[in-house]
């Protein structure tokens, strides 16, 4: 019975991991990059430099711009300038189904900035949970894959007879490639296991009311807003009255919010700005600590009087906000952030080594031809594991190489991301074989190594803030480039070696149990 259970779990681990592996790899890589979302955005908009901006005036400039765009909007959002993002970032929308329009305004003039048009780190962040698909569809696909990842983690843990011993096992000089891949998969998987479990579960709970709306359905008859208000996640708001009103100046509201909240709010959302029932909500940064819970103060949009605040959260909701905080890592300073990034890379490595192991363990013996399934897995493996990182490097390169004033510039950057990804994937299909790994990984390494010199030659040496302003970003590009070149060299050395020990072929399940 025990043996049968372990068999079933090994089977479940191998197949559940394979089916979602390619999506998970992309989610892990772009999610890891999102820990540096603000830094990536800064690098991609080098024209923006920190300036002293009065928050009240910035709010009024934002409102003036928004009034010209959509006076009868359902909502506006005005993010006030910060040293990391020295611009007024505004959004406006007519319905919660979207579309959500965005603009970036100069805090000095209130007009759109002259910075190059780019989606910056936000593109990678959104891709992490929406895969550049329609939002709801993308979120469901990522959610389903995340749940399968949890299943793969649980079955993978059960599969390990000696999980503690495996922790310290890495047979580097192993005779067969399969044994080496298995050990690499175990090291990355087991060492990062607490992070992997945490990030998968908290990823699901971040969008819990989308995936699992049934508690809100039974206890609140589906009234999600009421649930959020009662849980202390947002202040009570008012419905539109249907009569036109005049929005009060936002400067005094920002001053009142600062007096009451003790700091400059992160941003203001304005609900029904053209209605007599307009409401302005000042949203503060989350307090120091793990919990992702923003204090909010709601003001009457006509008079500026305080309408209310979001209350304190109870233990359960507090648990939820801490889980959200753990996932997003806003609490982490530079060192802890680096650790989170390394954990994320270890997650990507776990997925990648698992995918490769699946294919290596099923390589046909001798001269037998590989079946269609195996060829497909091999092509998807190379196409994803080398293709996605190549796409990200191309996204960065396009940011520096495309003319600054190009129209639809941001879409061309995204086009470079997908274009290069597809090219690498096509190459994996058209030119299969061990050499393809060497060449593709070498190309990825070259692309990353090219980023700092290209940035330097396209105005980086004379940029505001000095040539060393983005030293951290440059060092990351060099480290990633050298890492991929190293991997390409390893793949070249392996290209001649036997893929598996010929005497005793193991299936993936046997390998997992070994």
């Amino acid at each position: 019975m025990r043996q049968g259970f372990r068999h079933a779990m090994a089977w479940l681990h191998a197949w559940s991991g394979l089916v979602v592996g390619w999506v998970l790899f992309a989610v892990f890589v772009t999610g890891t990059a999102s820990f540096y979302r603000a830094g990536i955005t800064q690098w991609m908009r080098p024209e923006l430099v920190a300036i002293e901006a009065d928050p009240g005036r910035a709010a009024d400039l934002g409102a003036a711009y928004l009034r010209r765009q959509m006076p009868d909007a359902m909502g506006w959002f005005i993010a006030l300038p910060t040293p990391e993002k020295p611009a007024i970032s505004v959004m406006w929308w007519k319905s919660m189904e979207g579309p959500f329009h965005e603009a970036l305004l100069d805090p000095a003039t209130g007009e759109p900035t002259r910075a190059r048009e780019t989606r910056g780190g936000d593109f990678l962040y959104r891709f992490h949970y929406e895969l550049s698909m329609p939002p709801t569809l993308g979120r469901w696909i990522v959610g389903a894959c995340t749940l399968v990842m949890l299943v793969a983690l649980i079955s993978g843990i059960v599969t390990h007879r000696r999980i503690f011993a495996d922790f310290f096992t890495f047979r580097r000089g192993a005779k067969s490639a399969q044994r080496g891949w298995l050990d690499a998969h175990n090291v990355a998987g087991v060492l990062g296991l607490p992070f992997h479990l945490m990030i998968a579960y908290t990823g699901l709970t971040l969008l819990a009311t989308l995936y699992m709306p049934w508690g809100v359905r039974t206890a609140y008859k589906g009234d999600e807003i009421r649930y959020f208000v009662e849980a202390g996640l947002m202040p009570e708001l008012r419905w539109t009255a249907g009569r036109p009103g005049t929005l009060a100046p936002l400067g005094p509201i920002v001053a009142a919010a600062m007096a009451r909240g003790g700091e400059v709010p992160e941003g203001l959302s304005v609900w029904n700005p053209g209605d007599v029932n307009a409401a302005v909500v000042a949203i503060f940064e989350e307090p120091h600590g793990l919990s992702h819970h923003h204090a909010q103060i709601a003001f009457d949009g006509q008079t500026g009087a305080v309408l209310g605040t979001n209350g304190a959260v109870g233990p359960a909701t507090g648990t939820g906000t801490v889980m959200a905080g753990l996932h997003m890592g806003h609490f982490a300073g530079p060192v802890l952030r680096l650790l989170l990034v390394l954990c994320g890379l270890m997650g990507a490595a776990t997925v990648a080594t698992g995918l490769v192991l699946w294919a290596v363990a099923r390589a046909p013996k001798g001269a037998a031809p590989a079946g269609f399934g195996l060829l497909l897995v091999r092509a998807l493996n190379l196409g994803t594991i080398a293709g996605l990182p190549a796409g990200i490097a191309a996204y960065f390169l396009a940011n520096r190489l495309l003319p600054v004033g190009l129209s639809e510039r941001a879409s061309f950057e995204v086009g470079a991301f997908f274009g290069v990804w597809v090219l690498v994937a096509l190459y994996a299909v058209l030119r299969p074989g061990p050499r393809a790994w060497t060449q593709a990984l070498g190309l990825v390494g070259a692309l990353y190594l090219a980023v700092p010199p290209v940035a330097a030659l396209t105005g980086g040496l004379s940029q505001p803030g000095g040539a060393l302003r983005f030293l951290g970003f440059d060092l990351w590009m060099l480290a990633l480039g050298l890492g991929f070149v190293f991997a390409a060299r390893k793949a070249a050395a392996r290209a001649g070696a036997p893929l598996r020990r010929p005497v005793r072929g193991m299936t993936g399940e046997e390998a997992l149990r070994a």
Binding site: A8, M9, L12, S155, Y211, G215, G232
Partner: protein, 107 residues
């Protein structure tokens, strides 16, 4: 019904149609049955947990994914597809009954 696993099929023999059907059955049972049990449990616990309404909803919703993962693993660990189906039904039926008693289906 063969159990998915290396004993039922070796890497070098093509899987039989019966084996494929059994695997498909488990996948569907795990996905749909697992979600159904998690959804019913969330709906019920949100109503009956002895805490403020919003806290009960949050608790039930946060736990729902653990419920679903447990059901999926159990479906694949069961000795046969029939046993797995019995397990899912055995969980779903009392949860649905509890929801009916709690009045979730009225109006």
């Amino acid at each position: 019904m063969p159990r998915p696993g290396p004993r039922a099929v070796s890497a070098r023999t093509a899987p039989t149609p019966a084996y494929r059907a059994a695997v498909l059955g488990r996948v569907l049972l795990a996905a749909l049955g697992g979600y159904a049990v998690a959804a019913l449990a969330t709906g019920l616990f949100a109503l009956v947990l002895p805490m403020p309404r919003s806290e009960a909803v949050t608790t039930a919703t946060l736990l729902s994914f653990a419920v679903m993962v447990a059901v999926v693993v159990a479906v694949f660990a069961a000795r046969s597809l029939a046993r797995a189906a019995a397990l899912v039904l055995g969980l779903a039926a009392p949860l649905a009954g509890g929801l009916w008693l709690a009045g979730a289906f009225a109006g």
